[in-house]
């Protein structure tokens, strides 16, 4: 396999409802990513597009629908999709395209326009549940994540305050992100006093629904160095799915995230993740998910993530900053674009270009992770300023 680097990145604002269409948002993110490394659409070897359920747009063949905004016509083009895990799954596909030697460069763009689905995009999620054994009970994502959160809290004896601290940190971090939808200075008390939507989930522990797009440009070794003097190398990739029989497994721990992380770390030669990784962008659509995923990513032991958060270890100034971007809780959650926003953050942080959000250093190595489907997919990407050995 050839070594592959990220050489450019770009993203739109994340907003509750955008004037721009899905195609226009996709174009804007792609254009910014191309401009950031001085490339033109004509230069691209291939294009990978990531977008989540067609039901949001009410448009089938969404990959084809968004082809032109993605700069993909007349080129080898693919759309890939694993629900919320898509934003990190798509750059993994881009990596494979380039690492294989088939292409020298790849534009990877992820987009979501959720607001088209009325009256609330949440309604579209009914169609992810089993049509015979689950849908007649009327479930939605808030329910099942509340079930997972309660299981996680019950097994480890975690308190609501522990979870609320993640909302405070991430929404605070997002105040420094120029694309953020919900940056806000909050207290733990304000989070705990917010409306209970599906106990133990409170309103301020949930990311918003959003419209937005984000993109990166990947290039092979030899090409990357000509496009930028600061390539950020992809050191490891991993992905894994657990069984869709989600009521037959223990939700307190995301084993599939651990498996995906082990795959990526093995490739990157990482033996002690908590020491060898400088910062992380774990997937945080709900506040507890950041903690759950830090554990799955082996950045701490099972049940230990709340203590790291309370001790400030995961703050931007701490030893292991998590979601310095502001995460999905703060920047917003246009499903596939949200995961890609995390990959963009790794790129900007490792190059020392994250502005007010910059982690001192700049950090040498970061991990981004996304998650989705029926609480069953983990997608992991490890990047750093050092070129991987193999």
């Amino acid at each position: 396999m050839r070594r592959v680097a990220i050489v450019g990145a770009g993203m739109t604002k994340f907003v509750r409802r955008a004037h721009e269409t899905a195609k226009e948002l996709t174009f804007e993110a792609s254009r910014l990513a191309l401009e950031s490394c001085g490339m033109k659409r004509q230069d691209l070897g291939c294009v990978v597009h990531g977008t989540a359920p067609d039901a949001f747009d009410g448009f089938h063949m969404k990959g084809e629908f968004l082809l032109d905004g993605s700069g993909g016509f007349g080129k080898p083009y693919m759309r890939c999709y694993v629900g919320g895990g898509t934003g990190v799954f798509a750059p993994i596909h881009g990596f494979l395209h380039v690492a294989s030697g088939l292409f020298d460069t790849c534009l990877v763009v992820c987009e979501e326009k959720m607001s088209s689905c009325q009256p609330h995009p949440q309604g579209a999620f009914i169609s992810i549940f089993d049509h015979t054994t689950e849908r007649p009970l009327g479930p939605n994502l808030l329910w099942i994540f509340a079930l997972e959160m309660n299981r996680y809290m019950s097994v480890h004896g975690i308190k609501l305050e522990d979870i609320a601290r993640v909302s405070v940190k991430n929404k605070g971090n997002a105040l420094d992100h120029p694309s953020a939808q919900l940056g806000e200075k909050l207290t733990v008390e304000q989070v705990l006093q917010s409306e209970i939507m599906a106990w133990p989930v409170h309103r301020l522990m949930v990311s918003p629904t959003s419209d937005g797009a984000a993109a990166v440009i990947l290039a092979a070794e030899g090409v990357a160095e000509k496009l930028t003097d600061k390539p950020v190398w992809i050191q490891g990739v991993g992905w894994n799915l657990d069984t869709a029989y989600w009521t037959n497994r223990d939700l307190y721990y995301p084993e599939y995230v651990e498996k995906a992380a082990r795959m990526a770390y093995g490739m990157a030669g990482i033996r002690e993740p908590s020491k060898e990784i400088n910062f992380a962008e774990p997937y945080d659509p709900f506040a507890y998910k950041e903690l759950h995923h830090m554990e799955g990513l082996l950045l701490c032991g099972k049940g230990e993530a709340p203590r790291l958060t309370a001790d400030g270890v995961t703050a931007r100034t701490g030893n292991l900053p998590t979601c310095p971007s502001g995460g999905l809780l703060g920047v917003g959650n246009p499903i596939a674009a949200a995961g890609m926003m995390k990959v963009c953050e790794l790129f900007w942080q490792c190059r020392g270009e994250a502005g007010k959000r910059q982690i001192p250093g700049p950090p040498k190595r970061g991990v981004a992770q996304a998650w989705g489907d029926l609480m069953q997919v983990g997608t992991v990407l490890v990047v750093g300023s050092e070129k991987p050995k193999t």
Binding site: G10, M11, T12, K13, F14, V15, R16, R17, A18, H19, E20, L25, E28, L32, E35, S36, G58, Q118, P119, H120, Q122, G123, F125, H131, T132, T133, E134, P136, L137, G138, P139, N140, L142, W143, A146, L147, E148, N150, R151, S154, P178, S179, I196, M197, A198, W199, P200, V201, G212, T243, Y245, T247, N248, R249, D250, L251, C344, E353, A354, G355
Partner: protein
């Protein structure tokens, strides 16, 4: 080149629509489906109609799973025989939810739960609802529950043939 401080993307506000500045096209998609329950879930639903919760036994993995399935996803062998389980269980996890599937508010909350079914292997359960008249404050992980069935005549071979799961009073139904 750093991330630009001004990024594209225009947030819309309510007045953008009321003033007619922004044009929106509204539509409704109608699609109808008839989902065949299939071989395994067909048996499961027939069991529910009789008032029995059925699982599948995988002799190779020494595991009894619920609901019934045609194959073991772990060892990938075909599963032929379904086994009757009890209609009692233990709350593995639960929520007290004030929103419906399409985000309408509920005054009286629903209590969805994962219920581990007695007779299945540990950790194997189903999604269902707990008795809506339970005081949510008294619901605990580990609480024992039993299925409350619809009357025989109104059962139709559906997951909703179980109305909900109610608290199993100690000493009863064991």
């Amino acid at each position: 080149m750093s991330q630009p401080s001004q990024t594209p993307g225009t947030a819309l506000r309510a007045e953008d629509f009321s003033s007619g500045r922004v044009i929106t096209v509204r539509d409704r998609l109608f699609t109808r489906y008839a989902w065949d329950a299939g071989v395994a879930i067909g048996r499961y639903l027939a069991g529910l109609r009789r008032g029995v919760i059925l699982g599948s036994r995988c002799p190779k993995c020494d595991r009894t799973v619920v609901p019934v399935r045609s194959f073991c996803e772990r060892c990938f062998s075909a599963l032929v025989d379904e086994v009757p389980l009890t209609d009692r269980g233990t709350v593995n996890t639960f929520s007290v939810t004030y929103v419906t599937w399409d985000m309408k508010k509920l005054e009286k909350p629903l209590i969805p739960a994962v219920i581990e079914i007695e007779g299945a292997s540990k950790g194997c359960g189903i999604l269902h609802l707990l008795d809506p008249d339970l005081d949510p404050k008294t619901v605990k992980v580990g609480m024992r529950v039993r299925a409350v069935w619809k009357g025989t005549r109104s059962r139709e071979g559906a997951i909703t043939d179980i109305r909900h799961f109610a608290r199993l009073e100690e000493g009863a139904g064991a």
